[in-house]
Symmetry: C2
Subunit: 461 residues, 2 copies
């Protein structure tokens, strides 16, 4: 437990009402979307960058670990207070500071919920594309820290592609600005892109300058049922080879379809072994032509049926099939390990086949869906953790999945990050010298290792 003197300093810094050492509050901030829990010593809700700075100066001097946190919706434990200390909850800093329609930029605070931001910019005809599944509750700061992705990244890129500048508080408590407001800028090293995706280990984000683009005029959603996963995968490759980059190319495998069959009013016959949700957006006339061309391209690839949404409501109904996946998975098994491997998109069929083999070998059901357009597959290893041995079998399967991913030129995480759950596997993917390079940067910028320690890299690696 923390010294009462430290708690008093925190109270003086942010106000008594924004500091809690109550067991109930500490439990609330002990977990994220993983199955793991770690109790912090104290929960602090700062109200300004200056308060964050004062907290970091004190924490650095006293060598108290600090764990910054947005909505705690991460899948890899990036925000978990693994060593007690201070959880710094950034959600009070949730304002949109400005939307500059002339320069297509916005400035926001880290605690802002991503969907709130998207709705605000869409009101003025602008667009912030990154769309992680958590967007209704996850925060911009968390999205930046993890470099969140989502279905629309096929066409529009990831969070990193939209971050022009940051205000960050360093582990030593200094407030610095990185990047700026211009579309181009090459003055000094790119600290902005180094911070994006560094999982809160190099600095605490207190302001974000975001690049926006014009909101596409229209979109068109299609749901296509295939008689094989190979047909669906071939469809993805053929569309891209046809020089069309759709907004989304989401796929679901046969096990996923079995799970959602009862959760949707859509007719999903047993013969359907894969589904693609294809969306195009942009100029109305152009997307009509693109949609027609896509259907021509994929026609010979084992298409069982095609639904084309003509209205926004119909589009929502098609997306509902995809959105019902996560909740439906519990029909397979009560617990899951959710990995988000990414392979070159042409390797998706090889990867799915390999996963099927690994699933059979270890006798663990594995459900695959996700962003086929950029090769980013959400691999859900379904287990019942109450059954002895399930945990270990699942982990042996995951390790084999990662090995196969890397063999195919992929990466073990497309958008969820490393946090603690994937840290043990880092040596499988990264050259030891590259890891040394990264740890050298961490040590140089956070010599006391107080900011989100133990994340990304295992401490003994």
């Amino acid at each position: 437990m923390l010294d009462s003197r430290i708690v008093r300093i925190l109270q003086e810094t942010v106000g008594k009402e924004n500091v809690s050492t109550e067991q109930a509050d500490r439990i609330c901030y002990s977990y994220d979307a993983t199955q793991q829990r770690f109790l912090p010593d104290v929960v602090v809700h700062p109200g300004s960058p200056r308060e964050v700075s004062l907290i970091m100066k004190m924490a650095n001097a006293e060598k108290i670990p600090v764990f910054p946190r947005g909505a705690g919706s991460g899948f890899t434990g990036g925000s978990l207070p693994t060593k007690g200390g201070i959880v710094l909850v950034m959600t009070r800093l949730d304002r949109i500071l400005r939307i500059d329609e002339e320069n297509l930029i916005a400035e926001v605070e880290p605690g802002l919920v991503t969907e709130q931001f998207q709705l605000a910019v869409e009101k003025v005809g602008l667009f912030y594309p990154p769309d992680p599944a958590s967007l209704k509750f996850s925060t911009m700061g968390g999205n930046v820290a993890e470099c969140a992705g989502g279905p629309r990244c096929v066409k529009y890129g990831v969070t990193k592609d939209y971050i022009l500048g940051l205000e960050i508080v360093t582990p030593q408590g200094d407030i610095i600005r990185t990047g700026g407001e211009t579309m181009k800028g090459v003055v000094g090293y790119d600290l902005t892109k180094l911070m994006v995706g560094s999982e809160g280990t190099l600095g605490i984000i207190t302001k974000i300058i975001v690049k926006l683009i014009p909101l596409p005029e229209a979109k068109k959603t299609m749901l296509v049922q295939f008689d094989s996963i190979d047909g669906a995968a071939q469809a993805v490759s053929s569309i891209i080879r046809g020089k069309i980059i759709p907004t989304t190319l989401e796929f679901m495998d046969a096990t996923t379809i079995d799970c959602v069959r009862k959760a949707t009013s859509l007719d999903l016959p047993e013969s359907t072994r894969a589904v693609l949700i294809i969306e195009v957006d942009g100029d109305q006339d152009l997307i009509n032509r693109q949609a027609k061309r896509i259907l021509e391209i994929i026609a010979p690839l084992g298409v069982i049926s095609t639904q084309v949404a003509e209205t926004q409501a119909e589009s929502e109904a098609l997306w509902q099939v995809r959105r019902s996946v996560s909740a439906s998975l519990r029909k397979v098994n009560p617990d899951k390990f959710n990995e988000d491997i990414c392979v070159p998109r042409s390797k998706v069929p090889d990867m799915i086949r390999a996963i099927e083999g690994i699933s059979a070998k270890h006798a663990v059901p594995i459900v695959n869906f996700g962003h086929a357009g950029d090769g980013n597959i959400h691999v859900n290893v379904m287990v019942d953790l109450k059954t002895p041995g399930e945990h270990d079998r699942a982990h042996r399967a995951i390790e084999e999945i990662f090995a196969e991913t890397l063999k195919l030129g992929g990466t073990m995480s497309g958008e969820h990050g490393i946090g603690i759950t994937k840290a043990p596997y880092i040596p499988m993917e990264l050259d030891p010298i590259a890891v040394t390079y990264m740890k050298t940067i961490k040590r140089a910028l956070d010599p006391n290792n107080i900011l989100n320690p133990g994340k990304v890299f295992l401490e003994d690696q």
Copy 2:
């Protein structure tokens, strides 16, 4: 001069024919596009990453500075061998290793000339958008080291947006891979984006994995003459507010137009005070509609005349006006200082007005042209260095231009980098703590300060 033992080791590493200490060769590699010259001790042309690695291990052990170099076309001295030592010329490594049409990526070596790469990918219907003015001779490695831009960045972004992964040789001589081949990837810190734009100070690029996009079906070029710079600037803002992002929005001010008037067959009357070259690309039908809409939007803004290219040859003729600028400037004065400030695009008129004031105050002609679409203005301070006092007056003007740029929320370099020419001005733009953060990274990764020392940051800053 280097010890003959060192030269012998270099000869054994890369072959005698690839090492030179001849005065003539050393002079060839003593300069770039700035006016400055520094003689290296030895010029080395490595033929493989392994050779680069061996050279760096030796140089690091012997504390000999190493200056990597592509075509030496930089505007800020980034490749100049300011401390003698070894110039490492990367141009023998000039292969396209593969173009993967299914995954829209390519892997290339750093010495490959950018235009050669663009032509190769365009042959298979793909597109690498970054287009620095030097693309006919500058190299992919140099473009990555400086994060090159160009006219098309308004729509397509800069070099950094297209680099997925790198092979680099570290200052200690280790060969490491950063990033990868997938569109998404969040495993560890983003060393790739840290390297892009770090001006050869953190590692030597030996391989580059590039993201490609489908080649746009068609393009349409328009040259519009305006009766005022404000009209042209307003046109840029109005087009973007109209939710159209053209491929290019290049502008020339009145002085630029005076320079090119005799170099082109195009009728440029005296009343023309600004020119915009607007290009749109994509679906043929869509760009026809966009071009029509653009002309409607800008019609009330003082348009004197509009040329619309209907053929590729006509488009080339319009671009010829822009391409003739650099050579034409010598009519104003024999020498120039070429800066590439970047401001939020809505601030371009304010910036131009400020520059006009600074030009009058210091009695130095200043010619402005460049990428209005992203606020990136090429400011050419024209001088005759043989005239006493011109150099100092020019530098006082430049310092005031930078101060005004920063006041308007801009940056002193959009695409040319810092090198040595802008290093003295870094403290004007960057927070001292941000500079410390950057220098900490440099020191951590290159403790002996042997890789391109003295660039980006002044050593006593």
